[in-house]
Every structure is written in C-alpha cells, then in structure tokens.
C-alpha cells in the first residue's frame, strides 16, 4: 500500500500548495487604495456607528450615523477607530470585514462599481445588542453623491410648522441635547448619534426600524424594550410631547 498512500500524500501536497499560492495572489489583487481615495472615518460604539466625513477643509466636515453614502466608481477608504470594545465593520457585498480595535486604528478600502443599498452588520461580539448593530452603505452616482454631501453639510433647516417647532422645544428642553447633536441648534451632545438629518436616513437605531414618524415615536417612548440594554435611557414624555418631537425629528431630512 506504500505507493497509493505516497501518491495520495503527494497529490495533497500539490493541491495544498496550489491553494496557498492562489490565496497569496488573491490577497495582493484585493489591495485597492491610493492617494485619490475618498476618506470616511468610522467609529464603532456600543451599538451604533458614528460616521464622519472630514472633507478637504473644516467647513466641509460633518457627522452622521449608521448610514454611509459613497460615490460609485471611486476608491473609498474607511478609517476605522474603536472607541469602547472591539467591533467589526462588514458589508458583505462590498468587501471583507475589518475590526475596530481601541488603541489600534485600522483601514478598509472599498470600491462600489454599481449604485445600490448595501447592508452591513457588526461582526465582532460586542455585548448586549451586537445582534442589532447594522448599518447601510449607499452607493450613489457621483452627481447624486455631491448633492447628498451638500445637503448633509447644511445645518438643520428652521421650520415654520407649529408642531415641528413645538417638537424642537421638547428636544432642546428635555435631556435629548445632553447626548445628541443637531447642528444649527443648541443641541451639541456627542455621546449619541448625530441627528441633524436623521429624518432622511432609511433606518434608525442601527438598522432596527425603518424611519417613520411612528417608529421614531416608538423608539423614543421606550428604547429599552426595542433594544434591551442599549445606552439610551427612557425619557418620560407626555403623549403630546412625543407626537411633536417625533414630528420634529422626522422633518430633519
């Protein structure tokens, strides 16, 4: 039996060697990235994604959360920063994953060839609500992308609707502003997601609920039932306050 066994071992060695070489070649080929990359900074926190667009000058800088727009056909370099525990940034349809590790900045380069909505989810166990830490990468044609950038850079537009204005009052007088920022108002909290254009995002609470006025109200009414253990406390509001503040947030497109 020596010859059959030796032949089988030799064939295995050749196959394993071939796989190893193929793996090396693929690793090299996947290395996109260069100086013309579009830079986006991602910070992972329990259990949401802070997204910063630095732009090429300080006036261009803005922050958003959980929804990332990128231009089609251009290399995008995500700069990944861990803040609390390890998270992992993974958009399966666009690229492999990369961890966000406190103390160790990482980078991930992607390039979308087609416009579309690409779902991502945290892929490193990060505690209680790891299961509900999704995000969306939306690839836009360059012109649509430029439009989106301009809209995001803008401050929250003042409204003339009475209910929306009442909602803004609720937002600013209750504890919301302690954690959340709405640029153009006196709300400058940074512990929680930036809400300047939250009404225009497709989902809230890191992919948990589609953004509607109703879901915003549900979320604010009791975050702990929908996403137990998350860091947003329940802020007691009367039903009228809840109605108006959800109208306000839904209007922030």
């Amino acid at each position: 039996m020596t010859i059959p066994v030796a032949s089988a071992v030799t064939v295995s060695v050749i196959i394993i060697g071939a796989f190893t070489l193929a793996s090396f070649n693929t690793t090299r080929a996947l290395n996109v990235g260069g100086s013309d990359d579009f830079i986006i900074k991602i910070r992972g926190l329990q259990w949401w994604w802070d997204v910063e667009y630095p732009g090429s000058s300080p006036e261009q800088r803005f922050q958003t959360a959980n929804e990332i727009h990128i231009p089609v056909g251009r290399n995008v370099r995500f700069q990944l920063e861990g803040i609390d525990v390890i998270h992992s940034f993974w958009v399966p349809s666009l690229a492999g994953k990369q961890d966000l590790i406190p103390g160790r900045p990482n980078e991930l380069s992607v390039r979308a060839e087609r416009p579309g909505v690409y779902r991502g989810q945290c892929a490193e166990f990060c505690g209680m609500q790891h299961a509900h830490m999704a995000f969306f990468v939306i690839a836009d044609e360059p012109s649509v992308f430029e439009q989106w950038l301009r809209a995001q850079r803008a401050l929250a537009a003042p409204s003339s609707d009475a209910e929306v204005l009442a909602g803004q009052q609720v937002f600013l007088s209750k504890s919301c502003a302690a954690c959340h920022m709405i640029r153009g108002t006196s709300a400058t909290g940074t512990t929680g997601p930036d809400l300047t254009h939250v009404g225009g995002r497709q989902y809230i609470a890191a992919g948990l609920l589609e953004t509607t006025r109703g879901s915003l109200a549900a979320w604010i009414a009791d975050p702990q039932t929908l996403k137990p253990g998350n860091n947003m406390p329940m802020v007691p509001l009367s039903s009228e306050e809840l109605r108006s503040v959800s109208a306000y947030l839904a209007s922030l497109k």
Binding site: M1, V5, V9, S23, V85, P102, G103, Q121
Partner: protein, 637 residues
Amino acid sequence: MMDDAKSKDQRDSDFDRPALEAGLASIWKTPAGLWGALATVDHKIIGQRYIVTAFAFLALGGVLAVLIRIQLAQPEARLLGPDRYNQIFTMHGTNMMFLFAVPVMEAMAVYLIPLMVGTRNIAFPRLNAFSYWMFLAGGALLWIAFALDMGPDVGWFAYVPLSGPQYAAGKRADMWAQMITFTEVSALAVSVEIVVTIFKQRAPGMSLDRIPLFVWSMLVTSFVVILAMPAIMIASTSLILDRLIGTHFFNPAEGGDVLLWQHLFWFFGHPEVYIIFLPAVGMVSTLVATFARRPVFGYLALVMALIATAVLAFGLWVHHMFVTGLPRLGESFFTASSMAIAIPAGVQIFCWLATLWDGKPVFKTPLLFVIGFMFTFVIGGLSGVMVASVPFDTQVHDTYFVVAHFHYVLIGGAVFPLLGAVYYWFPKITGRMMSERLGRWSFWLIFVGFNLTFFPMHILGLQGMPRRIYTYQPDMPWHGLNLFVSGCALILTAGFLVFFVDAIRSARRGEPAGDNPWDAPTLEWATSSPPPSYNFPFIPVVEGSNPLWEQRETLAVGGGMRVDRRELIITTVGAAEAEAREASPRNSIWPFWTAIATSVMLIWSIFSPWAVVWGSIPVAIALIGWFWPEGTPEDDS
C-alpha cells in the same frame, strides 16, 4: 534503609495464584465507603469518575445548544433575551471546550494508559486524585455562577475590552477567568502524570517503536498541553489582575494593548483544539487496527504525523486574527502554516484507509463511528483549508461558516472517535458490552442529525449571518435555513440520548464481556474486564508491538515483585529495560484536602487579592501533609 531483610518481605513467587491475587488486592484495593471514595488513588476509579463527569458536562452543554437553536429558529424570537442568550452561548462554548472536550480525552488516557503500557497505576497517583477534584470544583464554580445569573457573558474567548474592568460589570468575567485556572491546573497535572507514566513505567521490552499509537498520541498531546496552557494561565491571570487590582495589560490608554489578549489567548487556543483532536487520532488508530484485524499501516508515518501536527499547531494562532489589521505579509505566513497542517492529517487518513483496504473489516459500532469520523472530519478539514486563506476569511470570519467548520472538525474529529472509543472500551471498564443495536441507532441518528444540522450553517455564513447574535431580523434571508437547522438538531439530540440510554442500561445489564471481546492486540485486553485494582497479577514483558496477537496462548511476564507493598516497574525511556521496582503511593486523603484548600483560595481571590496570601497557608499545610513520609513499606528503599 536498604533492603536488608529480603527474606522478610513477601514476593509473588511465594504464593499460589489465588493467594497472590488476594494479597495484591488487599494492598491495592480501595476500601468501600466515603473515605475510600475521597482517598482513592486508583487511576481506574478516578478515570471513570472523570469520564462520567465530562459526559455530564457534555449533556449540560447540549441542553444549552438546544436552547440556542430554539431561540434562533424564528427571527426576533422572545424565548431568550440578549443577556440570557449571551450567557448561554458563552457557557456552551466554555463548557464544551474546558469542561468536556479536553477533560474527556485526559480522562480516557488516565484510565487506559497505565493498562496499555502494562503498569499498575499512573505516575503520581495522588496528583491524579487532586486533579480530578480541581476539575470538578472548576466546573461547579462555572455552573453555579450561571445558575445564580452570574455566568460569564463575554464569549468563550472573552475578548478585551468587552471582558475588561470597564465594560464587564460584576464578577461574571472573573468566574470565567478563575474557572480557567482550575481546569488548567487539572490538565497540566494530568499531562505530567501521562508523560512520566509513558516515559518511565512501560512494560519491559515495550521500546519506543512498540508503543501503541493511542499512547503515542497521549504523549504528544501532553507535551502540547505543557507548552500551550501557560499562555492561557498568563492571559486569564492578567485579566483578573486588570479587573481586580488595576493593572493595565490590556488598556491602550496606559500602554497596554487590546490585541495582546488575542495573541496570548490564541497562542493557547489553537493548540487547544489539537489537544482535543490528537487523542482522538490515537483512538482512531486503535479502532482501525482492531476492526481491520491487522496492525495499522504506516506506524512510523503516523507517529511522525502526530509530532508534525503538534509542532505546526503552535504556528497557526494568528489565523484567528486575520481581520484585526495585522500586516498582510505576516498574516500570509499563517495562511501557509494553516494550510500545511492539513498534510499530516492527510497522511493519517490515507494510512487508515490503507489499513482498512488491506484488512478484513468487521463493521461493528466502533468502526461505524470511525467511518463517520473520516467523512465528517474531512469535510471540516476542507472548510478549514478555505478559512486558512486570508481573503476568504475576511468574508466568513465571525459568521456561521466558521461555526460550521469548527463543529465539523470538533464533533467529526473528536466526538465521533470518542463515541466509538466508548463502545470499544466500555466492556473493559465495566465488564459488560454495550448494545450493538442501540449503537447502530445512535450512530446513524448522530451522523445524519449532525450533517443536517451543521452543513446548512456553511450556507448561512456565506449568506452573511454573523455569529453570536441572539436574534436576527425578518427581512434577512436566514429564517428558512435556521428553522431547518433547529429542527434537525433534534435528530442529533435524539442520537445522543440513545447513546446515553445505552451506556446507562448496559452498565447494569449489558452482556458480560470477558477479557478480550474484540480480539484486540494491546495489553489492556490481557487482564480481566474490569481489571483488578492492581491491573496485572504479574507485570507483562513485551516482545512486539501487538502483544496479544503475537502471543495468543500465553502472556510473557516478569516475577519477583513484593506483595506486601505497592510496587511497579520503572524502565528506561528508549528500550524499556527494567531499572527499579518503584513504590506506588497508597490511598490518601491529602489530595482531597489540598483541592479544598486550593479551591477556597482561588474562589476567594475572585473577590480579594489578599486571598493569595492568606489562602495559601492552608494549601501549604495540606501539601506538607501530602508529602510527609508515613513509614509504610512504600517508603523503603
């Protein structure tokens, strides 16, 4: 005190057979009752305890798995909330790896190795007793913590910072870290005993090239334990220090490093799976030989493959860290080593296939499990070669693809051989056969149930389902397969139930086995089933690698040993030439007290660092009691 009164001591040649057996029994036996149970140093009693306890942990871990599968059968299910689920999946992994998989392999070795090498007891028998109590205490600590809602909830791998002082409140993570100390002390102790037993207590004539392959696999495994476990001891101790007294090993703000944990953990963690797998390889070699009715093909190649696997196992650990942002060039080295370790595994499979091809296979239950192992482990190995590739792994890391992979290699590679080994050695341990009919039922239920449950998980991973999530949303395309998987898990569960029922029933009412029901070649089958307390009335002398096939009528033995003290033969490492008639310790209650004192110290230290100071005093007292000579004949020299 030199042996000045040779005429005073009693030698085996002074007695006829019944009187010899009675004399040996009176010296070697474990008395009935509580003191006997607590003070025994008989490797067979301790080994059986170990095996039963490890299987009890398997059953508990299986219950956790069923809960996980029920929760995941539906999207946004409400059976388990996130906190309970996170404790359950942490407990499932921790329990299976630390309280079942490693201990059960050690346990089989504790029972079988002394019999297979032809000696009367394991080396350091009191340490053996101590190590069982430490194992039991560690398991009790973990499960009692879980029952009190203080179970660890940070994953079996407990990555920092999630498990560190800032993000893991309370004592949950400390329970995990200290349980590690218990089980590592236990495993290290057993490994030392196994190495010394195999090196120094083999039957005269059992040179290195005549050692049974299971013994080789346990020798190699024990060295892997000795070299790998210090890494997790350092890791878990550093974690406890960070949490308890404010050190900064893993705190990047003060010069520590988050990845340091991963390096230390996986430097242990990768060899750990080979600590589980290599004993199973030894079991497969044993079963293949007996049920192919011929010595295994390629003895030297199989030994070399064991050693190569063990060495390579230390060079793979970074493949668990491919997405942490380490330099790609360095990561590629670990791709190469992770692929390379498939080669010795391939050598082993081809040698076993050659043995079966060239032999006259007897398709009893143990052989069925071996064939199931080959099918399942090879699939697991193939998915392993896939995840060894960095680009592929960046997609499937931390998804259900990996869950599928490691269950294929662990259940396929370790549990199948273990179940076959239980069917095989059960008659030797209990004196009764298990049921061939129930054995076939359990094999097919487990084999079919396992593949139906775990194969779809490869697909779920490729569909983007991450690991360690307590639920998933209805708009994900994962519901159908998860429901299917959960249903098939019941088939797998049924198979295990049949196995447990068979084992429990057969222990009382199985068919009497006789000394050698399988007509197997190794020394443990030369003595009665179950063996007497002294294993062999005369120490065997070995003249080949398959003693019972080479000497079918009579067994060559040596005489001239004392009957009034516990004696065994020490031989040289290479050629196994007899050097001494060494004494073997009597039953002693000190290992039990030492385990109690050590457990108190370790559990106390979860809450206060001073426990290490004050708690070590009772430990020292117990150890002094342990080692103080008693003036028995065993102290003669």
